[in-house]
């Protein structure tokens, strides 16, 4: 069965060769004229402020979204095998899955209620 995946490796090699060739060739093909302002970070007409090397701070909402993503992604991980074998699992599988979805849904409703899905 693993032979099914070999062509993907081939395509990976071709795509990687193309992409790496492009980024490597770019500095040599194009012109190069030094200009301090050109290499500075883009800003709309004001002096750019240096970013802290650690990446700076960003809103906690992004972390929350990432956590929610993990919860639902794991739910999807469980949904796919069940969906494929739905016929074999029958009523038992359906009831189990509804119980599972409802469990996640309660957490989801809690997050919603607490304003975790609000952006401003």
């Amino acid at each position: 069965m693993l032979s099914n995946y070999v062509p993907i490796v081939g395509l990976f090699a071709l795509a990687a060769a193309f992409a790496i060739f492009s980024v490597t060739a770019a500095p040599y093909v194009g012109p190069r004229r030094y200009n301090r302002a050109k290499l500075a970070a883009y800003e709309c007409g004001i002096e750019p402020v240096d970013q802290p090397l650690t990446g700076g701070r960003f809103p906690i909402k992004y972390y929350l979204t990432a956590m929610l993503f993990i919860v639902f992604d794991i739910e999807i991980v469980f949904l796919y095998p069940w969906a494929v074998h739905n016929e074999a699992l029958g009523v038992f599988g359906l009831v189990e899955m509804v119980v599972f979805i409802v469990t996640v849904f309660i957490a989801y409703a809690y997050v919603w209620r607490r304003g975790g899905l609000e952006w401003d």
């Binding site: 062509p7 970070a41 979204t65 989801y108």
Partner: protein
């Protein structure tokens, strides 16, 4: 599972190709994707131009169809900038990381039936696996890394914001996309792309209270809710308008690729358009019958054999691309909070409820041995009523703030930042105000159209009429009264 024709490949047909056939397929997919990208860019510019009453590119090549090739060549000869603050290795690798998965996702898309290439019988598909669709999902998830790392490594404000936004946006809409295709797996009973196409080959035999007829076999028709959710989610997933917030020109300049130039920028562009092509191809595969000829053409027996299906497949892909462009030409960009609210509060719950409905109907009809009509009556109608009630309640809750503000505005123009009243206004049709500022649908505050000039601060010291009209002054937190004559 029924197979309509012997040309329909099964999972066993994959993995035994001769090496040069594999090589031809790999190079073929690579070339097709690059050409489709070049075509899609010109196609987009021309279609958008038509929608805006312009002509669009018409200089380079026949009717301007070589415009994107010329642009690509031009990009190669532009200066490659390495910003002084950039994290150099990551900045260098990010376009590569974005591009490779974009190409890989296409490897499991079925382009056609079994054909013979130089005497070798082989399916018109690079490869397939029992988990075919998972490969596509994995690749689209990997593509996010390229964008986020590009934004982070640029060492600049706008790319960082664009990269963050795009991470949040793509993971949010990936949930909706992943949930929307569960129903397809439920019906097809497999995750292999070629078998999902095979499962859509034959019409469904429906019996509805005695009437027998052959129903449509496309999952877009059988599972309309899934198809709609998928279509919306992939627009967000590919950062396309109206969900192109990571590269919102008006706020973030160019988003994650602001600091990129030359071929590195070209790679991001390429990856974006390949992703568009891939999700269009996946839509065709999962919902639109794959390479199988659409109905009027499928009457002709030869339509699903040989190389013809390649034509039907690419017609479906171009049709899907047209819808992408149509959306861009029609809809304005959403605000970020509207966008996230829509993804998390509408798409995700709808998809979950829809999965439960589909699974229940499948199981009930199988266990109780009911006909389709009876299932629709006993399961479909009650569930549909429940969903409608749920959606009505949810939308009322979600629009609470908007409703409040609208009612306030109708009552005489209270500023949006004023504290909410304790008593909620009654539900029902929105009252139209005749004097105060009118607010449009969508909840964004509009300045009063019958503009009143606020009185000069010096006037406050003068005695005012007690029966003057109250004019909201918003942030100052005080209300000024005005002479009747001013109103």
């Amino acid at each position: 599972m029924l197979f309509a024709s012997p040309d329909q490949p099964t999972l066993e047909d994959f993995g035994h190709d001769v090496w040069w056939i594999v090589l031809i397929k790999i190079v073929g997919i690579f070339v097709v994707l690059v050409l489709l990208t070049l075509f899609a860019i010109v196609f987009e510019r021309k279609v958008v131009a038509r929608m805006q009453q312009r002509i669009g590119p018409n200089r380079v090549g026949w009717r301007g169809y070589l415009q994107s090739l010329a642009d690509g060549l031009k990009l190669a000869f532009k200066e490659d900038i390495m910003p002084a603050l950039a994290d150099k290795p990551v900045y260098f690798l990010a376009p590569v990381i974005a591009t490779i998965p974009a190409f890989l996702a296409f490897s499991v898309i079925p382009l056609g039936p079994t054909v013979s290439i130089f005497g070798e019988r082989t399916p018109l598909q690079l490869t397939d696996a029992p988990i075919g669709v998972l490969i596509i999902l994995a690749c689209s998830a990997m593509g996010i890394y390229g964008i986020v790392l590009a934004g982070w490594a640029s060492g600049s404000t706008y790319p960082l914001l664009g990269g963050l936004r795009s991470a949040a946006q793509m993971v949010s809409y990936e949930i909706a996309m992943g949930l929307s295709i569960v129903a397809v797996f439920l019906y097809a009973g497999t995750m292999s792309t070629s078998e999902i196409v095979a499962a859509q080959a034959d019409g469904n035999q429906l019996s509805f209270f005695g009437w027998e007829f052959t129903g449509p076999s496309w999952y877009a028709v059988l599972l309309p809710v899934s198809f709609v959710i998928y279509a919306i989610a992939v627009v967000g997933e590919t950062n396309r308008a109206p969900f192109d917030l990571p590269e919102a020109e008006s706020e973030l300049v160019g988003g994650f690729h602001t600091e990129y130039s030359s071929l590195k920028f070209a790679l991001f562009f390429l990856a974006e358009y390949i992703n568009m092509v891939t999700v269009s191809a996946l839509a065709a595969t999962l919902f639109l019958g794959g390479w199988r000829a659409p109905w009027p053409l499928s009457i002709w027996d030869g339509a699903n054999t040989g190389w013809w299906p390649l034509l039907w497949f690419f017609l479906k892909v171009v049709a899907a691309l047209f819808v992408f462009i149509w959306l861009r030409g029609t809809l304005p960009r959403l605000r970020y909070d509207q966008f996230m609210r829509f993804g998390w509060k509408v798409l995700v719950p709808t998809a979950l409820v829809w999965i439960i409905i589909v699974a229940t109907m499948r199981t009930v009809s199988r266990e109780a041995d009911l006909s389709t009509g009876e299932v629709a009556l006993y399961v479909g109608v009650p569930v549909a009523v429940l969903v409608l009630i749920g959606l009505a309640i949810a939308s009322r809750t979600a629009n609470r703030d908007t409703r409040l503000m609208a009612a306030d505005a109708a009552a005489g123009g209270v500023h949006a930042t004023d504290p909410e009243p304790d008593v909620l206004p009654a539900a029902g049709p929105r009252r139209r105000s005749t004097s105060g500022p009118v607010r449009s649908e969508g909840g964004f505050p509009i300045p009063p159209l019958d503009l009143k000039v606020p009185p000069s601060p010096r006037l406050r010291r003068e005695p005012v009429a007690t029966d003057g009209a109250v004019v909201g002054t918003g942030r100052r937190g005080a209300t000024t009264t005005q002479e009747d004559g001013d109103v």
